[in-house]
C-alpha cells in the first residue's frame, strides 16, 4: 500500500480524529434537522472552535458535520414536512405522507440507510477519482489554472437562477472585496485607506459568518413573529431499521440516487437539491411503484436521500483536486483548510498527500458515524427539534461574535462580520444571491494571480490562454456554464410555445 494512503488512514483512525468525526456527525444531524438552520451556517458557527485543533481533527469534525447535516435534514422533512435543509425538500414529498400514515419509523429508517449508502458510494468515487485527477492537474500551468478558476467562478450563473445580472453583480462585489489588502503579485497596498487592519485584506471566514449567520438569525426571528418559537415532533415512531422487503424495494432507487448524486456533486454549483430532485424524478420513472410516488412510498424517500448524501463525496472531488468548491459547504471547507495553512488543489496530493488521504478516510468515518448515531439516538435527536428558539438564536449570535473575534483576536473582524451581516441582509432584500459573492471571495485572489502571472509570462500576449488544451477545455466549459441558463430558458420557452 502507498505510504501516504497508510499514513492518511492511520491519522483518520486516531481516537481524537474519530471523536471529532463523531461529535461533528452528531452536531450535523442536530443542525440539519432544525428548520431554518443550514449546514453552511452550522459549519460556520462551529468553525471558530476548530482553529486551535490540529488540522486532522478539525477537518474530521467538519466532515462529520457535513455528512450528518445532509442526513439530518430528512428527519424534519419526514416528521414535520419542513425540510431541515434545501437538499431534503424532495424527501418530504413521500416521507411526510408515510409519517402521516403512522409509518414515520419506516420512512426515517429508509432515509438513514439510503443516506449511508449514498455517502459510502461517493467515498469510493472520491478515493479512486481524486488522486488521478490531482495527478493530471499537476501538469497545469498558470493559464490552465486561470481557466480552472474562471470556470469555478462561472458557476455563479447556476446560482443565479432568477436573474443572471444579480448573480454576476454578487460575484463582482466579491471580487472587488478581494482586491482590498496587499496586491498578490507586487505587494502594494490597495484600497486600505491607511488602515493597517486592512493590509491583510478581509478574512473570508469573517465575511462568511456575517453573510450566512446574521441573515439566518433574522429570518428565524421573522418566523418566530409569524408562527412561534418551537416545533412539536412525534417522538414515538416504532421500528426504524427497514425490513427485508423494504431493502429489496430500496435497492434500485438507492443505486440511482448514489450515481446521480455523486455525478452532480462533482459538477461545481449544482448541489444537493438538484441531485435529490433529479434522482426522485428518475426513480419515479424507473421503479415499479413509480405511479405511487408522492403518496408515501419508501422508494420516494430512498432515491433523494441517497442522492443528497452522495453529493457530499462528489463535491469533495473538485475541492480537493482543483481547489474549486462544488457547493457553499465545500467553499467553507476550503476556508477551514486555509486557516490551517493547507491549500486544497493538486499540490495537496503532492506536498501533503498523507493529509489528503486523511480527508478522504475521515469522510468515510463521517458516513459511518452519521449512520450509527442516527440509528442509535434518533429519539434523542428528534427532541432537539423542540429546543426553544429563544435559547438557540442568542447562542448562535454570541458564537458569531466570538467566532469572528477568535480568528485574529481583533475587534475589527467583529465589525467586519457585522458589516457583512448587513450586506447579506441588503442582498436578501434586493433578491441578490449571496453564494456568488462567497465563491468570488474564495476564488478571487487565485483568479487575479493566475491571470497576471500568465500575462507576465507571455509578455502581455492574451493568446496564452488558447494555446494549451487544458486552458481551452476549461474556457469552453466556462462558456457553456455561462450560456447554459440562457439555453435552458430558451428550451423552456420553446417547449411552452409548442402545441
Amino acid at each position: 500500500m502507498n505510504l501516504d494512503i497508510y499514513q492518511g488512514f492511520l491519522q483518520a483512525i486516531q481516537p481524537t480524529s474519530l471523536l471529532g468525526t463523531a461529535i461533528g456527525a452528531f452536531l450535523g444531524l442536530t443542525v440539519g434537522m432544525i428548520p431554518g438552520m443550514t449546514i453552511s451556517a452550522g459549519i460556520i458557527i462551529v468553525l471558530p472552535l476548530t482553529f486551535v485543533l490540529p488540522p486532522a481533527i478539525s477537518i474530521s469534525l467538519l466532515l462529520g458535520l457535513y455528512s450528518g447535516g445532509m442526513m439530518g435534514g430528512s428527519f424534519s422533512a419526514i416528521l414535520l414536512n419542513i425540510p431541515g435543509t434545501p437538499s431534503s425538500s424532495a424527501t418530504a414529498m413521500d416521507g411526510h405522507p408515510m409519517a402521516q400514515r403512522g409509518e414515520a419509523g419506516r420512512a426515517l429508517g429508509a432515509a438513514i440507510l439510503a443516506s449511508f449508502a449514498g455517502g459510502l458510494f461517493s467515498f469510493i468515487c472520491l478515493y479512486f477519482i481524486a488522486p488521478s485527477l490531482a495527478e493530471l492537474a499537476l501538469q497545469f500551468r498558470a493559464a490552465d489554472l486561470f481557466g480552472v478558476v474562471f470556470f469555478g467562478l462561472t458557476v455563479i450563473c447556476s446560482f443565479a437562477a432568477k436573474s443572471i445580472v444579480k448573480g454576476l453583480l454578487s460575484g463582482l462585489i466579491g471580487l472587488i472585496l478581494v482586491t482590498i489588502g496587499l496586491d498578490p503579485i507586487m505587494g502594494n497596498p490597495r484600497f486600505t485607506f491607511g488602515d493597517p487592519n486592512l493590509l491583510s485584506g478581509i478574512h473570508f471566514l469573517t465575511a462568511m459568518i456575517g453573510l450566512f449567520a446574521i441573515p439566518q438569525l433574522m429570518e428565524n426571528l421573522i418566523d418566530i413573529a409569524k408562527m412561534g418559537g418551537s416545533f412539536h415532533a412525534e417522538s414515538s415512531f416504532g421500528r426504524v431499521f427497514p425490513s427485508l422487503a423494504d431493502l429489496k424495494l430500496m435497492r434500485l432507487p438507492i443505486a440511482i440516487g448514489a450515481f446521480i448524486g455523486t455525478f452532480i456533486g462533482i459538477l461545481p454549483g449544482a448541489g444537493g437539491p438538484i441531485a435529490a430532485f433529479i434522482s426522485y424524478d428518475y426513480a419515479k420513472k424507473t421503479c415499479v411503484n413509480g405511479g405511487d410516488f408522492g403518496k408515501g412510498t419508501i422508494e420516494g424517500v430512498a432515491a433523494p436521500e441517497a442522492a443528497n448524501n452522495a453529493v457530499t463525496g462528489g463535491a469533495l472531488i473538485p475541492m480537493m483536486t482543483l481547489g474549486i468548491p462544488g457547493d457553499p459547504v465545500t467553499a467553507i471547507l476550503i476556508g477551514a483548510l486555509l486557516v490551517h495553512g493547507l491549500a486544497p488543489g493538486p499540490l495537496l496530493f503532492m506536498e501533503q498527500a498523507d493529509f489528503a488521504y486523511t480527508i478522504i478516510f475521515s469522510f468515510f468515518w463521517a458516513n459511518i458515524f452519521t449512520f450509527i448515531i442516527a440509528l442509535s439516538s434518533l429519539r434523542l435527536l428528534v427532541k432537539v427539534l423542540e429546543t426553544p428558539k429563544s435559547i438557540l438564536l442568542p447562542t448562535i449570535a454570541l458564537l458569531c461574535v466570538i467566532g469572528s473575534y477568535a480568528l485574529r483576536n481583533s475587534f475589527f473582524d467583529v465589525y467586519v462580520m457585522f458589516f457583512f451581516g448587513l450586506l447579506g441582509l441588503s442582498m436578501k432584500w434586493l433578491s441578490i444571491p449571496v453564494v456568488p459573492l462567497l465563491l468570488a471571495l474564495v476564488l478571487g485572489k487565485q483568479l487575479e494571480e493566475h491571470l497576471r502571472v500568465s500575462l507576465t509570462s507571455s509578455k502581455g500576449d492574451v493568446t496564452v490562454f488558447f494555446t494549451s488544451p487544458f486552458s481551452v477545455f476549461f474556457l469552453c466549459l466556462s462558456l457553456l456554464s455561462i450560456a447554459w441558463p440562457f439555453i435552458s430558458e430558451w428550451r423552456k420557452r420553446k417547449a411552452a410555445a409548442a402545441p
Binding site: M218, V401, G460
Partner: protein, 151 residues
C-alpha cells in the same frame, strides 16, 4: 420591487465610479509587460459599471405593479430590534468585555425571541455565556476580551 431595483442599480453605478476613481490612485506597473496592481480593479470597474447599467435598464422595463418578496412590517420589528441589540453590544464590547456585555445581550435576544419567563431568561443568559467563556478559555486557550472598563 421596481423602485428598489432602480435605486440599488444607481447606487452600484455610483459605487463603480467611486471604485474606478480610487483605482486611479493605485501605483502603476514598474516592470515592462507586467500587469500592475490597478489591472484587476480596472477590469472590475468596467464589469461592475456595465452589469449595474444592464440592471438599471432592465429594471426600467419591469412593471411598476410587480411586487417582490416583502414581509409585513409587524414581522420586521423583531429583526430590527435584534439588529439594534447587536449594534449596541458590538459598540460596548471593547469597553465591557465579553461576559459583562454578553449576558445582557443574550437576555435581550431571548426577550426579542419571545421568551417571557424571568427565571429562564436569568438562568440561560448567565449560564450559556459563562459556559462559552470557560469553554474557549480552558478548552481552546482563546482568551475572550475582558473590557477596558473592567480591566
Amino acid at each position: 420591487m421596481r423602485a428598489k431595483n432602480i435605486g440599488a442599480s444607481v447606487f452600484m453605478m455610483a459605487f463603480a465610479v467611486l471604485y474606478g476613481y480610487l483605482t486611479t490612485g493605485l501605483p502603476e506597473r514598474t516592470l515592462p509587460n507586467t500587469p500592475g496592481p490597478p489591472f484587476m480593479p480596472w477590469i472590475l470597474t468596467i464589469c461592475l459599471f456595465t452589469v449595474s447599467a444592464i440592471w438599471f435598464f432592465g429594471s426600467l422595463k419591469i412593471s411598476s405593479g410587480l411586487k417582490g418578496i416583502s414581509e409585513k412590517k409587524e414581522y420586521l420589528l423583531l429583526p430590527v430590534a435584534a439588529l439594534g441589540l447587536f449594534l449596541v453590544f458590538l459598540v460596548m464590547l471593547p469597553y465591557l468585555g465579553y461576559l459583562a456585555g454578553g449576558i445582557p445581550f443574550f437576555a435581550g435576544l431571548m426577550l426579542v425571541s419571545g421568551e417571557r419567563r424571568p427565571p429562564w431568561i436569568i438562568f440561560f443568559s448567565i449560564a450559556i455565556p459563562v459556559v462559552i467563556f470557560y469553554l474557549f478559555r480552558e478548552g481552546f486557550q482563546i482568551l475572550l476580551p475582558r473590557g477596558e472598563w473592567l480591566d
